[in-house]
């Protein structure tokens, strides 16, 4: 497989994971530092099912996602009622606990040595199809009432509640969507790299996804995809700068956050003729966006 195809598949997998973070953190404002743990669950469960229990690959992926949803339900149900800053801590704890379990249950997972010998079943075409399907699903959610509810809860949970929205219920659904997408990405990655180890799924990975969302623009699906693509390809592009590449990577992020606090794309969405009908009114590009960003500061001050 050529270098570019490999980078492309990794990017596709990253985008699928970032889509979950886009809905959860970008739109709903819930900072989960345990998203990568769901990716790890998806990777390990699907790999175990196929390698150890000889379950067919597609079924294993489905079961892995269902397993992550089950765990997500438990974690979401217990943590989404607490305040949002504590939610970040709780999901951090959850993520690290999952990683510890992967590290310690050597008999099943191979521990820190990793789990090798996974067949390479994620073809570039499968990755591409999965990516398109995931983007399509998330786009549909974004432009349904759920997308609106996400923004409403993020901006003013009390006002949303007064308008009849059950914020907890909604957050739980969004959390599950994020967990499912992460697990799906995890399963795809396990069967692409043919090897999984706990170190891949730490909280830093979750944080990287959040950075990608904010880099591209937290309100923009286009931005999330762009952010994921650029930032996962950037380290490869910066290879020539060897020891400076991490510094350059961080500098670029700092510049974006500093000079475009709403992210590269703000709330602008790429749209084709047929899609524009479904765009939220007022999601205009250009001047309107800049104006809205400028005035956001004023709106925050009065909250």
């Amino acid at each position: 497989m050529s270098y570019f195809v490999t980078v492309g598949v990794f990017t596709a997998i990253t985008i699928i994971g970032v889509l979950g973070t886009f809905i959860l953190t970008g739109l709903t404002g819930l900072f989960s530092l345990g998203q990568a743990a769901f990716m790890g669950l998806g990777a390990y469960v699907s790999a175990l099912l196929v390698v150890t229990f000889h379950v067919p690959f597609p079924l294993a992926v489905v079961l892995a996602v269902l397993f992550a949803l089950g765990v997500g339900y438990f974690i979401g149900y217990t943590t989404l009622k607490i305040r949002q800053d504590f939610f970040a801590l709780a999901t951090f704890g959850f993520g690290e606990a999952v990683r510890a379990v992967m590290n310690e249950s050597v008999k099943w997972t191979g521990g820190a040595m990793g789990f090798a010998g996974v067949p390479q079943l994620t073809t570039p075409w499968l990755a591409a199809a999965a990516l398109i399907a995931a983007v399509w699903l998330v786009r549909n959610v974004r432009y349904s009432k759920f997308g609106r509810d996400c923004l409403a809860i993020r901006t003013d949970e009390l006002a949303a509640e007064v308008m009849g929205i059950n914020a907890f219920d909604h957050k739980l659904k969004v959390f599950l969507l994020g967990a499912g997408l992460s697990a799906f990405a995890g399963a795809l990655s396990a069967f692409f790299t043919t090897y999984v180890e706990p170190a891949m799924f730490g909280w830093t990975q979750s944080a990287v996804w959040i950075i990608m969302v904010f880099f591209g623009g937290r309100d923009s699906l286009t931005g999330a995809i762009f952010g994921a693509t650029t930032l996962s390809a950037l380290p490869e592009v910066l290879r020539f700068a060897s020891q400076w590449r991490v510094a350059i990577y961080c500098l670029i992020i700092l510049l974006i956050i500093n000079f475009r606090p709403a992210g590269l794309f703000g709330r602008w969405e790429l749209s084709f003729k047929g899609l524009s009908r479904r765009r939220p009114p007022g999601a205009g590009a250009g001047k309107g966006r800049r104006k809205a960003v400028a005035e956001k500061g004023g709106a925050d001050a009065d909250a």
Partner: protein, 261 residues
């Protein structure tokens, strides 16, 4: 259901709320009939907003009953009360500033829109149909408050007076039986206050609606309300029609002051 018709829309009995040692609301009793416009007035810190917060379930009271449409809603959560037909606006405007004006109003229909997350994900046909319906209804309310041309603007970018109207449209879109307005004329200039009074009385006569209005401006309360409760330090010190309140010596002393006469 003649009996239901005669029963008051809202009956509050012995409502109390303490914050630490402060009795923010002390034994509040009130009756709101169908198609009635009730005002609550009182100086700052009299517990007016606390009463609205208790009614709309923002926080629970320490004791007392809130019987709304024959059901005790005391202790219920905000979204449950909102779904039962009691919506509100806020003193310090709580719009979803990052969203368009139209989307702000659409939020009122989220709980009623009949499709689930899976249907939304797969973009089934029922979803777009429901969305069109919601858009139509939301637009109707925006037209009613005269904001249709601002539908695509970001709510947070509108001037203050228009934001108040967006909030009113959002609350109306919940199709409430009882609408709670928390100082809706605060921050409006005199011309806007006149427009606001005309808007509210127009809406009130068109819709099957009761309103509880909290207000500082005597003009607004006196012109709009059928019945007024006067609060001071958490207690009701008087109630009556605007005429009676204007003449009540206790009320004048506590709130209106000498210069009002």
């Amino acid at each position: 259901m003649p009996e239901m018709e005669r029963a008051p829309l809202l009956e509050v009995k012995g409502l109390c709320k303490r914050f630490g040692g402060v009795h923010a609301v002390d034994d509040f009793n009130a009756v709101v009939n169908r198609n009635h416009l009730v005002g609550i007035i009182g100086p700052n810190g009299a517990g007016k907003t606390t009463i609205l917060n208790l009614l709309s379930g923002v926080y629970p009271g320490n004791s007392g009953q809130i019987v709304f449409q024959g059901q005790d809603v005391a202790g219920k959560r905000s979204h449950q009360i909102g779904r039962q037909g009691m919506t509100r606006t806020f003193q310090n405007i709580r719009l979803f500033g990052d969203m368009s004006v139209l989307d702000n109003v659409k939020i009122a229909y989220s709980w009623q829109a009949k499709y689930g997350m899976l249907q939304a994900m797969l973009g089934l046909r029922g979803v777009s149909q429901t969305e069109r319906e919601v858009e139509g209804r939301a637009l109707h309310w925006l037209e009613r408050v005269g904001l249709a041309e601002h539908r695509a603007d970001m709510a947070g970018s509108l001037p203050y007076g228009l934001q108040r109207r967006v909030e009113l449209a959002r609350a109306l879109a919940g199709e409430p039986k009882l609408l709670l307005l928390d100082e809706p004329a605060a921050g409006l200039n005199p011309a806007e206050v006149q427009e606001f009074i005309a808007l509210v009385s127009g809406l009130f006569s068109e819709l099957d609606l009761s309103i509880i209005l909290i207000e500082h401006r005597m003009e607004v309360v006196m012109r709009l309300c059928h019945w007024i409760y006067v609060q001071d330090f958490g207690r009701t010190i008087g109630q009556g029609t605007p005429e009676q309140i204007r003449r009540d010596p206790v009320v004048i002393k506590a709130y209106l002051g000498e210069e009002f006469e």
